[in-house]
């Protein structure tokens, strides 16, 4: 229980990175990318072990860090002066600083919030005065566009049903698509992922098929290979 609450303190990958930079007492402009990447991965590992949800943004950040790490290993191109050479870390550092700016501001306005909440204003006594003149319908203060949207949604939700209303429902389950995938191997020993999905028109079917595929991989019924990034994905049956 406790750890769950605590781990949420890292609101996102930027928070975690800033923490690691601070903890290692390193210069934000000269982040030891190797160490920081390792520690970042360790943290994700902890989250996994604790079975906490890991937001996609953390995974994305791993990719960014790995990319920077790889670029740092490359020698500086010949013929490029120090001024012209852009440090692979620059963009990330700029985003971290930008984020930190607002994080600090949030802390400050949080103080405003605390203070303001200690000052109590009056609840309206309007009802005592206007009782005779206006109807009992609830009046709205400061109506915003969002309120207008909510009203529209409510109106549409409550709309009387039209009798000849046709609803196209796509009934599709992971189980169905699992079967579909396995059937593909009746005549082929290997199939391409693109072949598997290219006849599917509905996004939802593609997604469910993809999930079924992941599920099969996880259960070690299928194996998947790709020679290089963006190349065709080949799917094989494990027998």
């Amino acid at each position: 229980m406790t750890y769950k609450i605590k781990l949420e303190i890292f609101e996102g990958p930027f928070d975690l990175l800033l923490f690691l930079i601070k903890k290692n007492e390193v210069d934000i402009y000269d982040i030891p990318i190797h160490e920081v990447t390792d520690q970042f991965l360790e943290y994700i590992e902890l989250m996994k072990i604790l079975d906490l949800e890991i937001a996609g943004e953390f995974i994305e950040m791993v990719a960014i860090l790995m990319n920077i790490k790889a670029r740092m290993l490359l020698p500086k191109p010949i013929g490029i002066s120090d001024e012209e050479y852009e440090d692979p870390r620059t963009e990330l550092v700029e985003r971290l600083i930008e984020y930190k700016k607002f994080k600090d501001a949030a802390l400050e306005i949080s103080g405003f919030e605390s203070k303001r909440r200690k000052l109590y204003s009056r609840k309206s006594i309007e009802k005592y005065f206007m009782k005779k003149e206006i109807s009992t319908e609830e009046y709205l203060n400061d109506v915003t566009l969002f309120d207008l949207l909510l009203a529209l949604k409510k109106a549409l939700d409550n709309m009387p049903k039209i009798t000849e209303h046709r609803v196209t429902r796509i009934d599709i389950t992971i189980e169905q698509q699992t079967e579909f995938i396995l059937n593909q191997f009746a005549s082929n020993s290997a199939i391409l992922f693109s072949d598997l999905i290219n006849k599917m028109k509905e996004k939802i079917i593609i997604i469910v098929t993809f999930m079924a595929l992941l599920d099969l991989i996880n259960k070690r019924q299928l194996s998947v290979r790709q020679s290089e990034n963006f190349d065709e994905i080949r799917i094989k049956l494990i027998s």
């Binding site: 590992e45 072990i49 009056r122 006594i125 109807s135 566009l145 409550n158 709309m159 429902r169 996880n218």
Partner: protein
């Protein structure tokens, strides 16, 4: 601190929207009794009177309430009169929303969506200059068509009707496919192939914990709603 005591009672009476009973006040005020509270309220009232305040404390419904003196009611009524003219009721807002999105639209069509008579509401919206008559429909009886005004745009702080959020955007805003995104993230994570990233110590048991739940990702409700919106009112 006798003085502080008065102020605590004053602050409580001020902040409360209901009359406060002596018992309620006693429960909040340390070391108080009926007599000390009654005396404090009397002192407060004397203080208000002496300093020429617009406020006074009255005894009502077995309790005490801080109110404005009678003679200022004419001003306060002006405050609220102006204000209620600026306000919309819930049915008003709903009808306005339908007009905004379906304009030009007839009353019959509005009633078809709302399922109730809209005469009164349309009249109010016209008076408030939020909608205006936008012609007549070329149909039997040539009913009047209604649309929103420039004041409508100004009121909601947008430049033109194209800026109104689309129905699809409303659904996204109100619902947010968070569950969906989360389940995809879990899968993405699983597929990262930790060994290649240099994470070596993840045990198979743990991995299995990350297994996906088997429920269809997008609920049917969601799907239906989408269709609903697409086929909505002709």
């Amino acid at each position: 601190m006798k003085n502080d005591y008065l102020q605590i009672i004053e602050s409580l009476l001020f902040a409360s929207d209901l009359p406060l009973t002596i018992n309620k006040l006693k429960s909040i005020l340390p070391q108080s009794d009926n007599k000390s509270i009654k005396n404090s309220i009397k002192s407060l009232n004397e203080k208000y009177k002496k300093s020429g305040s617009a406020l006074e404390i009255i005894e009502v419904a077995n309790g005490y309430q801080l109110v404005t003196r009678e003679e200022y009611s004419i001003y306060i009524q002006q405050l609220f009169k102006g204000r209620s003219a600026n306000k919309l009721t819930v049915p008003g807002l709903e009808t306005l929303a339908i007009i905004a999105y379906e304009q030009p639209i007839t009353k019959i069509q509005m009633e078809h969506i709302r399922g109730v008579n809209v005469d009164g509401v349309v009249k109010t919206l016209l008076e408030r200059n939020l909608i205006s008559i936008a012609g007549r429909e070329k149909a039997p009886g040539n009913p009047l068509l209604y649309g929103t005004t420039n004041f409508f745009l100004e009121y909601f702080g947008i430049n033109n009707l194209k800026d109104l959020p689309k129905l699809k955007e409303i659904d996204e805003l109100l619902k947010g496919d968070e569950e969906f995104l989360k389940s995809l993230d879990q899968i993405a994570l699983q597929q990262l192939e930790p060994e290649k990233l240099g994470i070596t110590n993840i045990k198979p048991e743990n991995q299995s914990e990350l297994e996906l739940n088997q429920s269809p990702i997008v609920s049917q409700v969601e799907e239906e709603r989408k269709n609903d919106n697409e086929n909505k009112t002709e």
